[in-house]
């Protein structure tokens, strides 16, 4: 069996790390984008998979960093099968209502990482993906990007960035699907991650749990929630959560 190649952004910890670990266990060669060089988990994982895991410095909010990462991957492989756009940030300004002063710098920071980051990363890796077998672009979005289901009364920076991401993915889908690319858009659920700075122990899911569902969705045509083989309609873009539920735009 030929080795598949994947790039994962934001793989230092949390969901990104769990996705990397899951792919490595499946024998994939993984290029793990690292934004936190001092965080130890990827180093430990590399000791377990020295031949399959390559750690790349990657800041998805930076054009030059993304381009450098793409060049570094291209030095090691001529094709890429899977890109998982996982990197994302949140802000402690979420609860600031419109009645209070808004932090627009934070809004731009979140937009750069959560919305534009996956788009620029996808664009940078498209040439490699084009030569791959799966040609699959995966995006970790959020229910917070669902306008139809939105019930929050603030969270402007985060919700706007995720809604914009969904639109950007849709546009990429419309442009690239005719060329054979396939897409997955995923809401991972509320996870016990460090996204807010400290590990959220109140959340309902371990990252590994969400990653397991995600990888089934990202890699296969078998939907994760009923163990029955279904052909995912590759010509329809939807956002699904870790339980396989479809979320409205």
């Amino acid at each position: 069996m030929s080795t598949y190649h994947a790039v994962i952004t934001g793989a230092d910890r949390g969901l990104g790390f769990a996705l990397a670990e899951g792919l490595l266990e499946r024998g994939w060669r993984v290029f793990a984008g690292s934004y936190l060089p001092d965080w130890p988990q990827l180093g430990e994982l590399q000791e377990r998979y020295p031949d399959l895991l390559i750690v790349l410095p990657l800041d998805v909010s930076s054009d030059s960093s993304v381009l450098a990462a793409a060049a570094a991957v291209e030095e090691r492989t001529r094709s890429l099968d899977l890109l998982i756009n996982n990197a994302g940030v949140i802000t402690d300004k979420n609860e600031d209502s419109i009645r209070t002063s808004q932090d627009y710098d934070e809004m731009i920071r979140l937009y750069q990482v959560n919305a534009l980051g996956p788009i620029r990363t996808s664009e940078a890796f498209l040439p490699l993906l084009e030569r791959g077998e799966l040609k699959r672009l995966c995006f970790v979005s959020s229910e917070a990007g669902s306008i139809g289901k939105a019930e929050r009364t603030a969270w402007f920076a985060y919700c706007m960035s995720k809604a914009a991401l969904n639109r950007g993915v849709r546009l990429l889908f419309d442009r690239r699907r005719p060329e054979g690319f396939t897409f997955r858009l995923y809401h991972p659920g509320w996870m016990r991650t460090y996204m807010s700075g400290e590990r959220n122990t109140e959340a309902e899911l371990e990252p590994s749990e969400s990653a397991a569902s995600a990888l089934e969705y990202f890699l296969g045509s078998a939907l994760p929630w009923d163990d029955k083989p279904h052909a995912i309609d590759e010509d329809e873009l939807v956002m699904r959560d870790w339980q396989g539920r479809e979320w409205p735009w």
Partner: protein, 387 residues
């Protein structure tokens, strides 16, 4: 009771057309430009021949480049008689050019929308202009009583564009006393905002048909007149361009809401916030040829509208999210939609799509809706676009 509308980008073609429509329905209209207050002050200071002396802050200064439109004497003209012309974008959209030639239809009163306006989306309210008290000779022959809306507080008088205070402080242009009275009027007019219209960016008409795209089935607009060519994005698809789109179409409206919301709380105010957006922000039906940053920014705007709706609806605010059926104009370059028009001619009327869309918007914004508890992206034909 007089009603006051504050329109972001009043000088932009759609904003100007909407201002005119609202005025004709008895509204006072104030315009604002999305300029940073510090920048504006610097610009104003520079306009004073480098004296470095900053202008006196206006009583109603909100930190935005507010423009109070001139009081109607003869038929009010949005943007007409405004001072400080040299600081404005040039072209057919500004100044007294709009509607200057009354023999040329501007879409007002000739939109062809009468059959369904006020009946499809808005219940029994009429979208017609007020007839009594109007000074517009174009309506002089109309004799019916005013029927411009179900809002009991809405004025039936012809609307007023209050004279703008000259930003350059040159009292010679309007006279010192005029400037003083302008400030007083500005303060009074802007003390309460009933209708906040967030008209970000600049719209251009889509020649062909504004609703040429079907909701049910996509149309490849590369073959539709007025559609974006596939490679039209150009430099707008750089990171800087995408961030600028986000600033223009998503953050600027939010800044306006944050700053102006306190003025909408007054008792008796309409408390209505209207977003001018585009169905290009619709994830479901937006097309693929739109510059990606522009499309994403509009989607972010839709989310913003929903969050504000969730928060402020419970305080009595009502919302409109409107797709004027026009195209956001590409920045920094020629626009394919306007390039073939005689848009540089001062005698060119507002293009029919802009005028028609603005007329519909005025009815949509001024009238109550049957269901204010649901936020809907409404098109210029009253159709609903999905998110």
């Amino acid at each position: 009771m007089n009603r006051t509308a504050w329109i972001l980008n009043l000088h932009e073609p759609f904003g100007a057309a909407l201002g005119r429509e609202l005025m004709s329905r008895g509204w006072n209209v104030i315009g604002g430009e999305p300029t940073d207050p510090d920048t504006r002050e610097e610009r104003s200071a520079a306009a004073k021949n480098g004296s470095g002396e900053l202008p006196e802050p206006r009583a109603a200064d909100d930190g935005w480049g507010s423009t109070i439109a001139p009081e109607s004497v003869s038929p009010p003209v949005p943007g007409g008689d405004l001072s400080d012309e040299e600081e404005r974008p040039s072209g057919w959209t500004h100044g007294a050019h709009i509607g200057e030639n009354r023999d040329i239809p501007t879409g007002t009163g000739s939109s062809g929308l009468e059959d369904f306006e006020g009946s499809v989306a808005f219940g029994p309210e009429s979208n017609a202009r007020p007839k009594a008290g109007t000074t517009d000779p174009a309506y002089a022959e109309e004799t019916q009583a005013p029927s411009h809306g179900a809002d009991p507080n809405a004025s039936n008088e012809a609307g007023a564009f209050v004279p703008a205070e000259p930003e350059d402080g040159n009292s010679d242009r309007t006279g010192g006393s005029a400037a003083a009275s302008s400030e007083a009027r500005t303060s009074g007019a802007a003390s309460r905002i009933d209708l906040l219209v967030l008209n970000a960016g600049e719209m251009a008409p889509v020649f062909g048909h504004p609703s040429s795209r079907s909701i049910e089935g996509k149309t490849d607009e590369s073959s539709v007149p007025g559609g974006w060519p596939a490679d039209s994005a150009g430099q707008e698809d750089t990171t800087a361009g995408r961030l600028q789109d986000y600033e223009t179409y998503a953050l600027t409206p939010l800044r306006a809401v944050e700053r102006l919301l306190p003025r909408m709380n007054a008792e008796g105010g309409l408390k209505r916030i209207c977003f001018i957006s585009s169905r290009e922000g619709s994830i479901s039906v937006g097309e693929a040829h739109m510059p990606i940053g522009r499309a994403m920014a509009h989607t972010a705007l839709h989310m913003q509208a929903k969050l504000l709706f969730n928060d402020l609806r419970r305080e009595g605010y009502t919302f409109r999210l409107y797709d004027p059926g026009l195209r956001p104009k590409l920045s920094g370059g020629s626009n394919p939609q306007t390039g073939s028009s005689a848009s540089d001619s001062p005698m060119t009327p507002l293009s029919a799509p802009i005028a028609e869309s603005a007329r519909f918007a005025a009815g949509l914004f001024a009238n109550p809706h049957a269901n204010e508890d649901r936020l809907v992206l409404t098109g210029s034909r009253g159709e609903e676009w999905p998110f």
